[in-house]
Amino acid sequence: MIQAFHVYKQYDRESVALSDITLHVEKGEFCFLTGPSGAGKTTFLKLVFREELPSQGQILVGGRNVTAIPEAQIPELRRSIGVVFQDFKLLKRKTILENVAFVLRILAVPHKEQKRRAFNALKAVGLHHKMHAYPMQLSGGEQQRVAIARALINEPMLLLADEPTGNLDPGMAQEIMTLFQEVNARGTTVLVATHDREMIQRMGKRVITIQRGRVNE
């Protein structure tokens, strides 16, 4: 699903974010990307859904070279990838139901269908009772769950999650991991960036470690 070949990312002369990353994540796989803060996990995820371009090297997602796709095809790529951002990235002026439904809205899914699926997605993360609330009215953990619901609503081929349990208590974190496993069982490839060692051990999945911008599997 993800194939990275000798990927480098350098923001300026001094700061090298990623250096010679070569890794593969198979289709249908569930794996963790770990490493200390600032190791380059988030940067790598950004390269996968083309928020940024590598300074050097190639990345293939689902067989498509995302470093070479034209600008006009980026939206299509992003729609096939669910992303849980570390800072949630929720639309402040929209209710959480609208936030979750937004992905379907841009796909021109009929309104009723949008609502039904958004409600179900919120239900899956246990927030359906707050669907008319705005992001700012929720706690950090709740906002994170909204971000997860949004990432999953369109049943993406690939789910990228950046510290998705960072703001959650252990019980909720485990629930979210179970949800990811269910999604994975339905065929979605899952790549979770986290430095939660305990959770990684508990899950027993493949782990890719990045340290100072290099892969250390």
């Binding site: 928020e51 937004f102 841009i106």
Partner: protein, 297 residues
């Protein structure tokens, strides 16, 4: 269907945004309204003057005053030559007596004046009404030049000078309106583009998020373009309302007393009203495109 859904979304978002920052948007709509009003006022004045010119030219009459004691043969020759000219619609020969009678009928109070002169002062004349399609100043000039030196013609009188002056005035008003309107339209584009840019700045995070979850550039930009067009269109509606009110005021209070223009109905052409609203929308479209072109959306 997806296209309609997208359009519905654009309009809904645009309306929400217009309402959310209603104060600044009202300011922008007002600026556009005033600009279009000025342009519209010039064009309306030009249209009305033009209508007066058209009405006058429809009745263009050329009068050939004949020499005293003209031989009937020469007069008949002139008449037959005139009849052959393509510009002539009707030809009426007014004898000296008929001219006198007409004067007495028209100016009742002065009807004894000719008697004091001992002699009928009115010359014999031929009155020509000019055919449709031959009423342009150029055509009238051609016609008059062709006959003013003919034997038996003493003097020619026609309304051309006035028509020419009015036509020039119409052109001037229209030109001035065009220049002023153009400048004001540019100012409106500038205003709209800045208002939209402010909105874009205020919502930059939101727009980035939309892009990150897979919204196309068109989908992110659509609401802003519709918002600009709505601002412009509403500005156009304001301008039309101001013009309509202004015209009613002018028609009632000023021109009622004027014999010259009073009989001419003061009007605003329907096409102009539509053109102003559409023009406003075009100004809005350009304004939002300019601001989106400059921003990172």
């Amino acid at each position: 269907m997806p296209v309609f859904r997208a359009l519905a979304y654009f309009v809904q978002e645009a309306l929400t945004s217009l309402w959310r920052s209603r104060l600044i948007n009202a300011l922008s709509i007002g600026t556009i309204g005033v600009s279009l009003f000025v342009l519209g006022a010039f064009l309306t004045v030009a249209s009305n003057l033009n209508a007066v010119v058209t009405r006058w030219t429809e009745k263009v009459q050329v009068t050939f005053y004949l020499e005293d004691g003209l031989e009937p043969r020469i007069r008949e020759m002139l008449e037959s030559r005139l009849k052959d000219d393509p510009a002539v619609e009707t030809l009426t020969t007014i004898s000296r007596q008929a001219a006198l009678d007409r004067f007495r009928a028209l100016f009742h109070d002065l009807r004894t004046l000719p008697d004091d002169l001992a002699e009928n002062p009115f010359p014999e004349s031929i009155e020509i009404t000019v055919k449709n399609g031959h009423q342009s100043p150029e055509e009238i000039t051609r016609f008059v030049t062709a006959f003013e030196k003919s034997p038996g013609v003493e003097e020619v009188q026609y309304d051309l000078l006035w028509i020419q002056r009015l036509t020039t005035a119409v052109r001037l008003v229209r030109g001035l309106g065009g220049v002023l309107g153009g400048i004001l339209a540019l100012a409106s584009i500038f205003t709209i583009s800045n208002v939209i840019r402010l909105t874009v700045y205020a919502r930059q995070d939101e727009l980035d998020i939309m892009r990150l979850v897979g919204a196309t550039r068109a989908y992110v930009r659509g609401p802003f373009i519709v918002e600009g067009m709505l601002q412009g269109g509403l500005g156009g509606v304001v301008a039309v309302a101001l013009l309509w009110g202004g015209l009613r005021f002018v028609a009632r209070d000023l021109l009622a007393a004027s014999e010259l223009l009073g009989r001419a109905a003061i009007f605003m052409p329907t096409e102009l009203a539509f053109a102003i609203v559409l023009g406003g929308m075009a100004v809005g479209l350009v304004g939002s495109l300019v601001s989106l072109g400059r921003s990172q959306v």
